[in-house]
Symmetry: C2
Subunit: 336 residues, 2 copies
């Protein structure tokens, strides 16, 4: 990060009519945005949430409350602007970019970024989700999408995803890389009952037993435990860091991608900003493992990038405070 | 609250393309707004933060990091649009209404609501902050301001305040009405050091010893421990409830007003929405005592209504989700 820009941002923050540090994480976001962009007063107006979509072979084990065809149905909903993330992105002045990186259906739409690597992952309870090469290809999709958007002027990114069943691979990744137990890491996803939760935990345990993951090899965990959309989001995060752009991390599944990215390339961590604390159990531990602290506690558990897009309001707020607040001098206010 | 409007809002929420309940507190806010306004799809576009300003005689005990003249200086800053709350209110599309209910200075400005009850409170370490009649008069100011704004079309209110020294009476109120100890309730305010914190705790203990407050009489606690701006905010909360409007509660000082209001008129509690968890120690316990759960964890400790105004983005988001999201039927998405 650009230390000089951070110092300049801090000096500006301390000149404004408020007790030093009293705006908390808004001030931290202003400093981080300065360090990431190299601009003491960063311009962040063009924002996009990238929604990566993929299907999961593990759905045949009955881990989700929803049938797998909902992934493709929701992709169409994103493209028609009717999903929660579309509404919240409009509200925050952000674009929604939907990417098919692994949906198990033939999809075609003028606004869809069609970069399917394969039609869903393999069933991780029986074998690997994908090959190492496929994981790398999916990461590349995320990098490419960010590169195109950055070239067109996007300055801030948010991670979003759609994939029925994807809390299962996310929990498996958290256990493999974060060292949690299945009891700690496996939660209710879109809303399964106690019996299904126990079953899901067993499925995750089988996935970890079948796929002997090397915990020092984050790419191994990503390929074997999977999620094509999770791999795509790893690429979004790495791409954002490469383009000196902030990337706002959404909930449990996005954070699994953030965990993989931070283990692959630790230098990408300072480019991430946590948005919300999901109701999905294990999310708090996942964020801690990455070193992130969430701003929003809304008990949300929807994914899609909905929590990350809410945090865009706060990033804009931080930038506006830097530019519009009076200084102690200009307002004639006494200091401590 | 209007139970029929709440049921209609819930039915609408459950028809939208998301797992039931997965938008957490956004859904709760939509239900609450429906119940408060009696409209299943409430219209909340006109919003205002009411910044009550008053001075504190207890400042002569040296409890604050800032000199008391900052209260009047900041009122001018609010009126000129340069304070943090002004910037954040513009960002959220809300009006800032600044009320002099007890500033220890002669203030005059076309946009100032001049309703001074007295020039600052008495020093609570030596006697009462104000008389019972003065407390009632200050409450009436808040009610009047809300009534005027509601008549002009404001549908949502936020509480804000300015008053150097006002975490001291707020902590005293929390101890008197919430049953906390001084160790739990007294914090660093705008940023005092360890020595000053110990001193401040002693001042609060003296205030509680000198003013024998009846814990079953919230008006007694308000008058004796004071804060003219806190009394004004009690009026804002009661006024909002009377006008069937939501009122978003800011941080520690605003929550002291909310605690008094909820003890005076328990029926006003369902009209309140907590915004953020302040870094000021004791705020979490204060919100729990009222039965509120904060949405935003930004480590802020500025007051002015800054946290409450940030929450306006989420209220608008809740309303837009209700109006703009596709339903399972309209989008052709399979249900559980």
């Amino acid at each position: 990060l650009d230390e000089e820009a951070i110092r300049a941002a801090q000096a500006r923050l301390d000149s404004l009519t408020k007790p030093p540090g009293s705006l908390g994480k808004l001030e931290a976001a202003a400093r981080q945005a300065a360090g990431v962009t190299g601009e003491a007063m960063p311009e962040l107006s063009r924002k996009a949430v990238i929604v990566m979509a993929g299907d999961h072979g593990v759905c045949e084990e009955g881990v989700s409350a929803f049938p797998p065809e909902v992934t493709a149905q929701m992709v169409l909903n994103f493209l028609h602007g009717g999903a929660a993330v579309n509404v919240l992105a409009r509200h925050a002045g952000a674009d929604v970019v939907c990417v098919d990186v692994g949906v198990n259906a033939d999809l075609s739409h003028p606004r869809l970024v069609a970069r399917k690597i394969r039609r869903g992952t393999g069933n991780i309870a029986r074998g690997p989700a994908m090959s190492r090469d496929e994981a790398i290809a999916a990461i590349r999709v995320g990098c490419d999408v960010v590169a195109e958007l950055a070239a067109a002027g996007t300055r801030v990114f948010a991670t979003g995803e759609m994939g029925i069943g994807n809390t299962t691979p996310s929990a498996a990744i958290l256990i493999a890389l974060g060292g949690l137990t299945p009891e700690q890491a496996v939660g209710r996803g879109t809303g399964i009952d106690d019996a299904r939760l126990l079953h899901k935990r067993g499925v995750v345990e089988r996935a970890l037993a079948v796929n002997a993951v090397d915990p020092r090899d984050p790419l191994d965990a990503l390929a074997k435990l999977g999620g094509l959309e999770i791999a795509g989001l790893v690429g979004v995060i790495l791409g954002a860091a490469a383009h000196r752009a902030l990337v706002v991390v959404d909930g449990f599944i996005s954070s699994a991608a953030a965990l993989v990215a931070s283990r692959l390339v630790p230098a990408c961590a300072p480019y991430m900003l946590a948005s919300h604390l999901s109701l999905e159990q294990g999310h708090g531990s996942m964020l801690e493992a990455i070193g992130l602290s969430p701003m929003i506690h809304m008990d949300m558990r929807l994914g899609e990038g909905t929590g990350a897009v809410l945090a865009f309001h706060f990033l804009d707020a931080a930038v506006r405070l830097m530019g519009e607040m009076a200084t102690f001098e200009s307002a004639g206010v006494s200091q401590q």
